[in-house]
Symmetry: C2
Amino acid sequence: MMDTSGKHQNSAELQPVSGGVCAPRGFLAAGVHCGIKKENGDLALLYSEVEARAAGVFTTNLVKAAPVLLTWERVRDGRLQAVVVNSGNANACTGPLGMENAKLMARITAQELGLKEELVGVASTGVIGVPLPMNRVEKGIKQAVKELSPDGGTQAAKAIMTTDTCPKEVAVRVEVGGTLVTVGGMAKGSGMIHPNMATMLAFITSDARIDPGLLREVLKEAVERTFNMITVDGDTSTNDMVLMLNNGQAGNPEIKKRTPGYQVFSRAVEYVCTHLAKTIARDGEGATKLLEVVVNGAATTRDAQRAARAVAASNLVKTAVFGADANWGRVMCALGYSGANFNPDKVGVWIGPVKVVEGGRAAQYNEEEATRALQGQDVVLRVDLGVGNGQATAWGCDLSYDYVRINGSYRS
Amino acid sequence: MMDTSGKHQNSAELQPVSGGVCAPRGFLAAGVHCGIKKENGDLALLYSEVEARAAGVFTTNLVKAAPVLLTWERVRDGRLQAVVVNSGNANACTGPLGMENAKLMARITAQELGLKEELVGVASTGVIGVPLPMNRVEKGIKQAVKELSPDGGTQAAKAIMTTDTCPKEVAVRVEVGGTLVTVGGMAKGSGMIHPNMATMLAFITSDARIDPGLLREVLKEAVERTFNMITVDGDTSTNDMVLMLNNGQAGNPEIKKRTPGYQVFSRAVEYVCTHLAKTIARDGEGATKLLEVVVNGAATTRDAQRAARAVAASNLVKTAVFGADANWGRVMCALGYSGANFNPDKVGVWIGPVKVVEGGRAAQYNEEEATRALQGQDVVLRVDLGVGNGQATAWGCDLSYDYVRINGSYRS
């Protein structure tokens, strides 16, 4: 979305549509309640009518949940046709039984759908260390298969929620070589969210035909600039996973590298990922505000990413945003320990439209205006490091009393 | 303190005494209120009757406050005779005026005490980005010089506080080569505290005679195992500093490397640093509990440090400790992203005396006992990574509603 092709062309190219993961042709979904959680949906099923090209990005946490290990293995072949997801239980730190249960989830799903086991991916999210109640899971899968529908996107997005307060889905349509191609997605995530991850749970679908080798590249790049640039609490989860399924049902000429179609398709995927990532940040546990940190003028993109993430992740910045206190010293402090290289005397900082730091020290500004810029639901902090051309954006949220309330008794 | 010489000998060696930084011979101190803050002490002075050997460790934050840059430069020669400290204003991000003011603080102090300017160290702590009110500072320094006293340790410890709820001081006496040697210290720190630092403000005094080259080594080692192993909120400050002044007034035979005296003296310094570090962690902003994380069985000491600090710094662990929720999955999660190398299936975790994780998954334990172990004012989490012999201890605190309250409106 930050291309040079001009706003008009850009918005004409990307047409938001409804339907979430079911917006692309040939995808069905369902979300049901089977009793893993006390209430609300807790089992989701995503299904492509034909075998799909698949790519995935997974948590970098050394402690990986069983479904992460299983799906990681299965996505290596680059093919999936269904994904089964439960919420309420992470199936992490559950030993050999955990891996058996993850495989069993896939096997039951495959049997009910008449697929090969290897074409089913599995994801889980919820409490760590508790065995899955497999009787309920089995009942849930059978019910979900019955309820699969091209209108099931929202139900599926609801069934993967944990502490999320709203379902997260999006879809967008673009023209590739004269053919309309659709990219959809859903995600969950509210806590245990931090940039050093692969990412939290997100499922992206598309009906585009694309060179299978390219799919992974497109997804990885999008994740790097979107899901990996959000932070809620600095904790990288054991269960993070982004999966993308591409079933080719749009019938477009196959997308190849260094073609206009590739550019357009990449933008569509990044649009979907950005939307989901920002929605996760805004729905961070206890959050009252979305925090966007834009860093320009860094020596490298990597430095810009480091700087943006450090500011967005700082508890002191987050509490100041919550309290609408224009304490820009905390931004300078976070930049200083971010690992980015810069000269403190060259730094500029803006809170919304108000320039609060110039040349590394207080600019002439009106305190009330700065406070006002912190009072909306969307707070933008902009930093110019004054070194080079590296730029990056990170998203986070404020740190409120409710974060403490939610996490002081998560399991009860 | 973790030596192999046995408990009896150990406790006989280290004799706690009162007096803080003034406990060693030849040190005077004062703490006054000069109006930098609305109330309470805000200017402290520490003075040795004779020139002292000095060593320092400073923040690793790229954005360094003026007094940090100045004192860093001055301590290179290894000599100081006085340190002037103000609270309420960090003198950071204040441009060239900030450096002028830091130098002026030293100059005024030197003139009043009849010392060379180069023998005065300066430290500041408080709000970033606001110029120091030098008229008040000058008045404060003059008053502090008048009030210098061998009983001034506690007043000085009070005058360096910001959001601290209690002054932090300690002193201990040991026998070195038949002579009694005393090490004292004071510190401040409650927020903006995280292991990647040099450290927050701490001032250590001693009357020992010691090889000047060794002093730096003793201090660096002690800081590594104490101040660098505490975390409150993950933010490394712009103003961190530990200074040690050693005036040789005890008259002991000079301490040299690889002698019993060196061991004893190092232990005394580490005792003082450990006490101050733990007191800072316990007094973390909004904290209701001290969290001690002990990691054993790591591949290396460095891995043990990484693992211990990641657990102590995790917002999710901290909120669970606040809510007395035995959610050990969050400990496993933090270990997993700590960067330490281990096999998740070999990990054991204890909450107080209760083993909650065995072989990487839930042990047989009583939930009520685990909850009870989280309800005291001191919570100990113990981890065995099951790989090697590396061990480390980190200290932190819980994350409470009051952390958010304090930091949502720090400047008002």
